[in-house]
Symmetry: C2
Subunit: 212 residues, 2 copies
Amino acid sequence: MSTVSGEAADGGRTPQRGRPARYTREALLDLVVGVFNERGYEGASMEDLARASGLTKSTFYHHVSGKEELLRMAVGRALDALSAALDETMATHARPIDLLADAVRRTTEVLLDELPYVTLLLRVRGNTAVEREALARRRAIDARLAALVKVAAEAGEIRADIDPRLASRLLFGMVNSITEWYRPGARTASRTSIVDAVTGVALTGLRTPGAS
Amino acid sequence: MSTVSGEAADGGRTPQRGRPARYTREALLDLVVGVFNERGYEGASMEDLARASGLTKSTFYHHVSGKEELLRMAVGRALDALSAALDETMATHARPIDLLADAVRRTTEVLLDELPYVTLLLRVRGNTAVEREALARRRAIDARLAALVKVAAEAGEIRADIDPRLASRLLFGMVNSITEWYRPGARTASRTSIVDAVTGVALTGLRTPGAS
DNA sequence: GTCTATATGTTGATAGAC
DNA sequence: GTCTATCAACATATAGAC
């Protein structure tokens, strides 16, 4: 169970006119999100999604309720992961600057581990109810992150010459921008080196320490 | 001339069934790009664009050749501005670290001054020929910026523990992320404070200098 | 320059045979 | 579970009257 095409209990007599196409719902969602990210949510048609899964459009509809529901599942997964990461950070009860660094690290890790889902989430515009709901949840997470920056600023642990809200936007804008280029498997930077680089640049900047 | 509805040389006898709608081509493009950014390029229909301009769909088509051509003009404007800013930076012949700081500053300024156009550019996916051409031009600009970072790294002026390509992506990812939230006129950070903050965070980081 | 009307294709979604 | 066939809605784009 939880597979898409069932167990062929009739002993193979079934015509199977298309490709076998036996996906778990998770594998199917992975595939769908891949197409969403390639062509954009609006630019991807149900026909595109069906073809990518090796099914006809009708068969595809037999398994999924519709395009919007697919989006809801996908962005929900991203939001849950980001939310959980932030919960874990808060549970450490560390000093403000360390809380912030931990949030940056964990958010970056979620982004790398759930890359297609977070990528899709970050591109949501707000045309439909599903999208607006996702934006609202995302704003709530951003607000929690901004609060972390604010606390660190009030503790004097980050520079006072930049507004905490602006600092938060730049910081997590940098983190989120990873979705623009990171492709796992490609010969780019490793997960660890990215996490270290983000945290490093965020806290101490690019310039060589001590250089003029 | 260069207006959209002409000079009404008949002395006002024209029926004018819709809204007056007298735009320069630039004002019309501004309006179009606004809708593109609100709904997404794929999500915005010609009907949407026409309605936003106060014209019927047909009248709108009388003035513009089609949706894709509107996109070409819009992203072309963004690409030209970014390219020109980078040319200006190179013409200063400064030290590597100062070249880099200047590129960050000028790129940020273009982003703020041409916000809707650059925002649209940064969201281009690559579904059509126009989009792929824009992506190619954008990649060329990114490569020039990455080269600046590399030179600064080789001169020992930025930290050696981060791969220059990764540093470049994080740095300009942070810069580009401004399009996600900046809204001129809203009571957010001013142009100057944003430019200063970006340059500051990029080079020296968020952490308070000298703090543990 | 603007309109109404329409041509033509594509989209999300369903009906019903096998 | 899979297919072919089809629908209603909406898309881009054009024709032609005023």
